[in-house]
């Protein structure tokens, strides 16, 4: 145990993150199941409004801050970044371990907040003032946990940016780095720039709650809108922290299973940077109905449409990569294709909300909840599963049972769409979010959504079981089971400490598959 939790080996730290993230994922998923059970009937089913408020808050806080914001960055970023650039570790291995400890400390504090003080927070994951200042639940401790976790994010960002600048193997320039590395680079900058803003905002909320410091509280003349601005100034770019490394993973998986070089390498690389840059300027589209000036509303709407362009560039590039490829339909590719499809729906419903007139209609409805889950679960979540199946042999030296993995994919994919597409439909009809109860006209929709959710959870359990089984009993994996051409496949599975006996030669062009060269 101590050989793991005090190890500075980036591969071990990656697996530490992976295990903790999986534990929090299952926790928050279970909470989600309880919410779906509550919505199976009208009126009170298994809990009242107060419990439901606590559950959606905790589901959101755990999923957002402990699972998807760390996301692929900490687990796959840690594992793959040094391998992909031909390095022996990250630039600051001890800082890397410290980041995990910050993450764990933040998580423990968040979880402690559920059982201490006034009980679990009931504000929603956004901790909006003035309610977060007035509720008697344990908001300060939960917020402090998120604050501590922020250090993990910042330190990881600093570490990875420096690693990419300083530790690339000889011959690896910025323009032949794997695209996953590009996405980690863009994500790192987003993390170091916006996370401190969230940090200071949360600190001010804590000071207001604990010491009555007049900042956001309208009783003291404070402006709750200012809180919303500062919160989304972080939390919208945080969506790109969640999705960018996911896009990077997809850019690795698709070429390997299409046996074809990636289409539009530079466009994908630069679109990551463009998303990071424009993504920092769209935050107020979460606040269209809050009473901002018409001018700022229109400006943020325009920027929201603009940020969709680089994401769309990536989607077209992935699809073009598949065109005339020699496709091997592995489980990893299935999840990656699932990502492209679901992220497409998530992105397009996002544009609908960027349109001002539609936004007023769908604001604070299940349409938002559905859209968000399409992007973050259908996007980041499916990319996470794709990455797990693709790099599992490299991480654990074992092969995953492909048949079960594909069965799990079908269950998760079908359940997912039944669940969240129904949410989009009842949301468009006006079902408000964050209510433990619903009106008769939404009843059928809620039952269908819940059944979809249960099917999806069954698939997720099969997926996790299959992976857990493979760790112990999977067939031993060769160094390069998929015929990948990035450098992580140039070492054994799992890689030895310090990764490479001899630093491998860097291919002149990334994603040049042998078959392509032959006529």
């Amino acid at each position: 145990m101590t050989r793991w939790i005090f190890s500075t080996d980036h591969k071990r730290i990656a697996i530490l993150y992976l295990v903790t993230q999986a534990a929090f994922f299952v926790t928050a998923m279970t909470i989600g199941v309880f919410m779906r059970i509550e919505q199976l009937t009208m009126g009170r089913t298994i809990m009242g409004a107060a419990t439901y408020n606590a559950l959606f808050t905790v589901h959101g806080v755990v999923m957002i801050f402990l699972v998807v914001i760390p996301g692929l960055m900490v687990s796959f970023g840690n594992f793959l970044l040094p391998l992909m650039i031909g390095a022996r570790d990250v630039a600051f291995p001890r800082l890397n371990l410290l980041s995990w400890w910050f993450y764990l400390a933040g998580a423990v504090i968040v979880l402690a907040s559920l059982f201490t003080g006034g009980g679990p927070p009931d504000t929603g994951w956004t901790f909006y003032v003035p309610f977060s200042l007035r509720t008697h639940t344990n908001v300060p401790l939960a917020v402090f946990g998120v604050f501590v976790g922020g250090f993990s994010s910042i330190l990881t960002g600093i570490n990875f940016i420096t690693t990419i600048h300083r530790l690339r193997a000889p011959g690896m320039g910025f323009h032949n780095m794997p695209l996953f590395v590009w996405s980690v680079y863009a994500t790192g900058w987003v993390q170091v720039i916006v996370t401190p803003v969230l940090g200071v905002t949360l600190l001010l909320v804590i000071l207001d709650r604990v010491a009555g410091l007049p900042i956001f509280n309208p009783d003291n003349g404070g402006d709750p809108l200012l809180y919303q601005h500062l919160f989304w100034l972080y939390s919208h770019p945080a969506v790109y922290v969640m999705i960018l490394p996911a896009m990077g993973a997809i850019s690795e998986i698709i070429p390997t299973f299409a046996r074809r070089t990636i289409f539009g390498y530079r466009f994908i690389a630069f679109s990551s940077m463009a998303i990071a840059a424009i993504g920092g300027l769209v935050w107020a589209h979460h606040m269209f109905t809050s009473g901002m000036s018409d001018l700022s509303v229109a400006a943020f709407s325009l920027l929201t449409f603009l940020v969709a362009v680089p994401s769309a560039i990536k989607v077209f590039n992935w699809v073009s990569t598949l065109y005339k490829g020699s496709i091997q339909l592995s489980a990893a590719l299935l999840y990656a294709l699932g990502f492209v499809f679901l992220f497409g729906i998530g992105g397009l419903t996002g544009l609908m909300q960027g349109a001002l007139a539609v936004n007023v209609q769908v604001h604070d409805t299940y349409f938002i909840v559905g859209h968000f889950h399409y992007v973050i679960f259908g996007g980041t979540g499916f990319a996470f599963f794709a990455a797990l199946h693709y790099w599992f042999p490299k991480m654990f030296g074992r092969l995953v049972d492909e048949g079960r993995a594909k069965l799990a994919f079908v269950l998760v994919f079908v359940g997912f769409n039944v669940f969240y597409f129904t949410m989009l439909l009842i949301g468009a009809e006006g079902m408000p979010r964050r209510y433990y109860d619903h009106l008769p006209q939404f009843h059928a929709g809620h039952v269908v959504a819940s059944l979809g959710a249960f099917l999806m959870v069954a698939g997720l359990l099969l997926l996790l079981h299959n992976l857990g089984r493979a760790v112990r009993r999977g067939a031993v994996a060769p160094a390069n089971p998929w015929g990948g051409v990035t450098l992580e496949w140039a070492t054994s599975s799992p890689p030895p400490p310090e990764n490479f006996a001899v630093i491998p030669a860097v291919p002149e062009k990334p994603y040049a598959f042998p078959r392509e060269v032959q006529p």
Partner: protein
């Protein structure tokens, strides 16, 4: 060649450029941390111009400027310390660093005096006088305590960092060809100084 044999690196990996780069990016995050408070200040000042003017008169500009002088001097002493170390004057460097820590302490003492005065004047959060002030003035003091408090925390952190570095240098644990620990502590201290230079006019010179 076995994997184990390949691992036996004679020298541990060290990269001073990376250390410095990491520190500079960290300083960027510090700027954004304080940036949140400065944004709030800008928004509230635009809304409550008069009130900020009145509330600013409560602060002691003389103490604020005196503290600025203390901090600027401390930036000079830390720079002299780094300079001395680079020139190989190993015995001189710890003296400069120690002096810097003393100046940091002096800064905190002055800051403490200020805060105690505010308490005596009933301007702390929760005290009745503050609660009776107009909204804009209450917000001014809220931001004042947040900014100076957060800054004071950074002074403490910087002083501890410099203290530890001073001890390392005095014991000869910082190698002359690898001064990045010392340099990083130095640039961190300059950042603490820089942020204060923004805080001074925003609050002490607001009247």
């Amino acid at each position: 060649m076995s994997a184990e044999a390949a691992l036996s690196h004679p020298a541990p990996h060290r990269d001073d450029v990376a250390s410095r780069m990491g520190m500079w990016i960290f300083l960027l995050t510090e700027l954004f941390l304080f940036g949140g408070i400065f944004v709030a200040y800008a928004a509230y000042r635009a809304l409550h111009r008069e009130a900020f003017h009145h509330a600013g008169a409560e602060l002691d500009a003389v103490l604020g400027v005196a503290n600025t002088a203390v901090l600027l001097t401390s930036s000079l002493t830390v720079a002299l310390g780094v300079h001395a170390f680079r020139r190989g004057r190993d015995r001189e460097a710890p003296c400069w660093l120690g002096l810097t820590v003393l100046l940091a302490f002096a800064f905190l003492v002055v800051k403490g005096i200020e805060w105690v005065t505010k308490y005596q004047h009933g301007l702390f959060p929760g005290q009745p006088r503050l609660g009776g002030l107009p909204a804009g003035e209450r917000l001014f003091f809220g931001l004042y305590f947040a900014a100076t408090g957060l800054h004071a925390l950074h002074v403490v952190a910087g002083a501890v960092l410099l203290g530890v570095t001073c001890a390392l240098v005095a014991r000869g644990r910082v190698r002359p060809d690898a001064p990045s620990v010392l340099e990083n502590a130095g640039i961190y201290w300059h950042l603490v100084d820089t942020i204060w230079i923004v805080i001074l006019p925003l609050f002490y010179l607001a009247a």
